[in-house]
């Protein structure tokens, strides 16, 4: 993961508003990229960290279409919608799709910047989580199939004796495997191990939005 600063992506068909908003965000200290349409944004966005501020009403692909396209691509980039006048059905649909925030174009600066900060924070959190998860996954990949099988049973809270009986190996062998696992995964306690296994999706349900990788 790069250490580049998060980028606020602004998408609006109104050039004037686009410039003004970008100006404010830059003056407030954010890195900003502007796009004149949803299509332009989708084509050029890269995978920089940050968030999206999009006009809800745009010719061609509108704000909701953009959000859906992002979801289809598996991007967790938070989207803040801006609208001239929020009507309830559109708002509901936007929020249901997971919009980070919903603001009118003339909303106070404080609300806007707070929304941007929240969105960036959420993105950072999501990205950190993903990074940690990826690292864990890499470590899990170093385990042998036998070690993985032992790990699953340990995570389920079974005793060494039970695991040995289950797998048809000696109890000593189980202990040897557990030592190897804790060394490879760099964990110290069984509790930590259990949490890790759950997070890595070795149990029945994995995290719902796990990115399939790039």
């Amino acid at each position: 993961m790069s250490d580049a600063p998060p980028i606020v992506h602004v998408v609006d068909d109104d050039a004037s508003f686009l410039v003004a908003l970008a100006r404010l965000l830059r003056a407030a200290g954010y890195s900003v990229r502007t796009f004149a349409s949803a299509a332009e944004f989708l084509a050029q966005r890269g995978d920089a960290a940050g968030c999206v501020i999009a006009d809800l009403q745009m010719p061609g692909m509108d704000g909701l279409d953009l959000e859906q396209a992002l979801l289809r691509e598996g991007s967790g980039l938070p989207v803040i919608f801006l609208t001239g006048e929020g009507d309830i059905p559109t708002t509901v649909r936007a929020m249901r799709q997971g919009a980070e925030d919903f603001l009118t174009k003339t909303a106070p600066k404080e609300d806007l910047l707070a929304a941007v900060d929240r969105a960036l924070a959420r993105d950072a959190r999501q990205r950190a989580e993903t990074a940690r998860f990826r690292a864990m996954r890499t470590r899990l990949d170093t385990l042998t199939p036998r070690e993985l099988a032992v790990l699953r049973q340990v995570a389920e809270g079974r005793l060494n004796k039970q695991i040995a009986a289950d797998l048809g190996i000696g109890e000593r062998m189980v202990k040897l495997h557990r030592t190897a696992i804790t060394a490879k995964l760099q964990v110290r306690s069984v509790a930590e191990l259990t949490r890790l296994v759950q997070a890595a999706g070795l149990c029945d349900e994995g995290p719902p939005d796990f990115p399939k990788g790039k």
Binding site: S16, R23, L24, A28, Q57, M58, D62, T104, K109
Partner: protein, 615 residues
């Protein structure tokens, strides 16, 4: 006392009565000369009847002789007056014949006044012999003088013959000329009776028949024939007068029912006659004389020139007047009057008379004004509802510049905090703020123009610049929000049209919004609305709004423009009917048709500004 002494005075009395009646009428109304001559002859016949009675009763030669000579004079006067009457009344007699009558008679009459004539001699007898008494029916008796006939008496008969010829000739000529057939017939009757009278007195004088002189009787018949002719006119006049009164009563009734006032303007004397109703409309008393300036003074000051011009126009042009104007009544109220008239000219073509009607049209005017206000109100209401449909798009349209201004201002506040402040950036920000402010003003201006309440104010205008572009600009954001491709296509160098830009914008906006509704159910890439303007024939420009929707069901296409007819779930059905009213008020037409491919097209036409179309 016998029937003779009774009937002759009756004849005399009848003649006197006829004469007096005709004298009375003759003094008052034409044909005066004819009537006075008739009266004269009637009085003469009355005298003749009296003299005849004397002749029949006296046995004193001196009395008889005096009466006889008077009778000859009376007959002469009567012949003369009859001749003159026919001359005057028929107007077709021959002068030679007319002059022959008195000349011939005068020759005969001269024998009555020969010096040293023996008593009893004269025009009738050369020598008087004596009286004899004749018994006649009814036990009555009368005296007859006997004598030797005077051959010169022939001249008197020639005079009568001359008169007969004169009358007959005059009658025939009148008839040939196509004159009054009745008059000619009367002339013939007069001639026949004259002949009878001459014949009878001739037979008496020759001694062939023993009857009293009945000249007066026969002339009474002549007089009655003449009187019937003369007074036929009077009878006709009386009947006409009756019909006229009836007709006047009908006219009064009709004019009262229609609230019409009648007027006649004698232009040379500048005197206006007007019925009471007309006077009442203008607030004039029944007795006040009216002149044209006085009439003008009752008018609303602003309308005086208009009326003056309309009157001048009637004098020099069509000859007819048709003008509507206001009166300023003394109580400060205003009354609307329609005045229609026709000029009559003399033989030189100079206007001498104008007659016409006035009618109070205040109620109609008030209704028109009210209707116009209602229509304007309805048009405005429909406009408000259209803007309501656009509201969310318009709010978006406004929030763009307002949002941009706000962000720019906030950015400027941050820039100004820096040390040193970034002046270039601040300048750019201020320029952008100014630009966005203008954008916001434009949006508001467009809405305001549509909402402004105002009257129909046609002017020469550019369709694409003043109607199409503002409407497209207004509807564009709505089109974007609804993902409709809205295009405009105006022919280059489109000629100016006559119209009220705001009302035409309203018509077009309505059609565009309808078209966008029509394509709402199509897939997003097939929602198209196109507005085209092009010249249509020599005198019109056509605006077409074409959509790619499902088209109009054939059975509804004819009813689209009816009030309260709608194909939409939530429509009121007033938009298109108002559009039609507005387009027709501009002198144009509006209609709808289905396209060959998909969708429908609504078209309306407007007359070019060069053509002086309807207001």
């Amino acid at each position: 006392m016998n029937w003779i002494t009774v009937t002759w005075p009756m004849v005399a009395a009848a003649c006197l009565t006829l004469g007096l009646i005709e004298l009375g009428i003759g003094l008052a109304q034409p044909p005066r000369a004819a009537r006075l001559l008739f009266a004269l002859s009637a009085f003469t016949v009355a005298c003749i009847a009296g003299l005849e009675l004397t002749l029949m009763q006296t046995d004193v030669l001196a009395d008889w002789w005096r009466a006889m000579r008077l009778l000859d004079i009376a007959v002469g006067v009567m012949l003369l007056s009859l001749t003159a009457f026919i001359w005057v009344y028929f107007g077709t007699g021959r002068k030679s014949l007319a002059l022959a009558v008195p000349v011939l008679y005068a020759i005969g009459l001269a024998f009555d006044y020969l010096p040293e004539a023996p008593p009893g001699s004269g025009m009738t007898f050369q020598r008087f012999i004596g009286f004899r008494t004749v018994e006649t029916f009814g036990g009555a008796s009368f005296r007859v003088a006997e004598g030797v006939s005077n051959p010169w008496n022939l001249f008197a008969y020639l005079a009568v013959l001359g008169l007969i010829l004169f009358v007959a000739d005059a009658s025939l000529r009148l008839r040939r000329r196509g004159g009054r057939g009745r008059t000619a017939l009367v002339g013939v009757t007069v001639a026949v009776f004259l002949a009878l009278a001459g014949l009878q007195s001739a037979l008496i004088e020759i001694g062939i028949i023993n009857t009293p002189y009945m000249i007066s009787w026969i002339y009474l018949a002549v007089l009655m024939a003449m009187a019937s002719e003369l007074n036929a006119d009077v009878l006709v006049a009386a009947r006409l007068a009756g019909q006229l009164r009836e007709s006047e009563r009908r006219m009064d009734l009709a004019s009262a029912a229609a609230n019409l006032g009648l007027w006649v303007w004698d232009i040379r004397r500048d005197s206006i006659w007007a019925t009471r109703r007309a006077r009442a409309l203008f607030g004039l008393s029944d007795s006040e004389p009216i002149t044209f300036p006085r009439f003008l003074s009752t008018l609303h000051p602003e309308d005086r020139d208009t009326v003056g011009r309309a009157v001048d126009q009637a004098f020099v042009g069509s000859g007819s007047l048709d003008v509507e104007y206001r009166l300023s009544l003394p109580d400060g109220q205003t009354r609307w009057i329609a005045s229609r008239g026709q000029v009559e000219c003399d033989t030189n073509g100079k206007p001498v008379l104008m007659r016409g009607v006035v009618v109070d049209i205040s109620a109609r005017r008030a209704a028109e004004v009210e209707l116009h206000e209602l229509r304007t109100e309805l048009a405005r209401a429909s406009c408000v509802s259209m803007l309501g449909q656009l509201a969310s798009a318009l709010a978006h349209e406004l929030s763009q510049p307002l949002g941009a201004i706000l962000r720019n201002t906030e950015a400027a506040e941050l820039f100004i905090e820096r040390d040193p402040p970034d002046l270039d950036e601040l300048r750019a920000i201020l320029a952008d703020i100014r630009h966005d402010d203008q954008r916001a003003v434009d949006v508001i201006e467009r809405m305001r123009a549509l909402l402004k309440r105002r009257h129909f104010a046609p002017q020469a205008l550019s369709l694409s610049g003043e109607v199409l572009e503002p409407v497209i600009a207004l509807a564009q954001s709505d089109a974007s929000a609804r993902q409709v491709r809205l295009e405009m296509q105006a022919a280059a160098a489109l000629p100016a049209v006559m119209g009220d830009p705001v009302l035409l914008q309203q018509v077009l906006l309505n059609l565009v919004l309808n078209a966008m509704d029509a394509v709402a159910d199509r897939p997003a890439d097939r929602r198209r609305v196109r507005v085209c303007a092009r010249r249509h024939g020599e005198r019109e420009v056509e605006v077409a709004v074409t959509d790619s929707g499902p088209g109009i069901p054939a059975d509804q296409i004819g009813r689209l423009f009816e009030p309260f007819f709608t194909t939409k779930q939530t429509g009121m059905g007033i938009g298109l009917s108002i559009s039609r009213t507005l387009v027709e008020a501009h002198g144009g037409r509006i209609w709808a048709e289905n396209n060959a491919g998909e969708g429908a097209t609504f078209r309306f036409t407007l007359p070019l500004a060069g053509d002086a179309g309807p207001p």
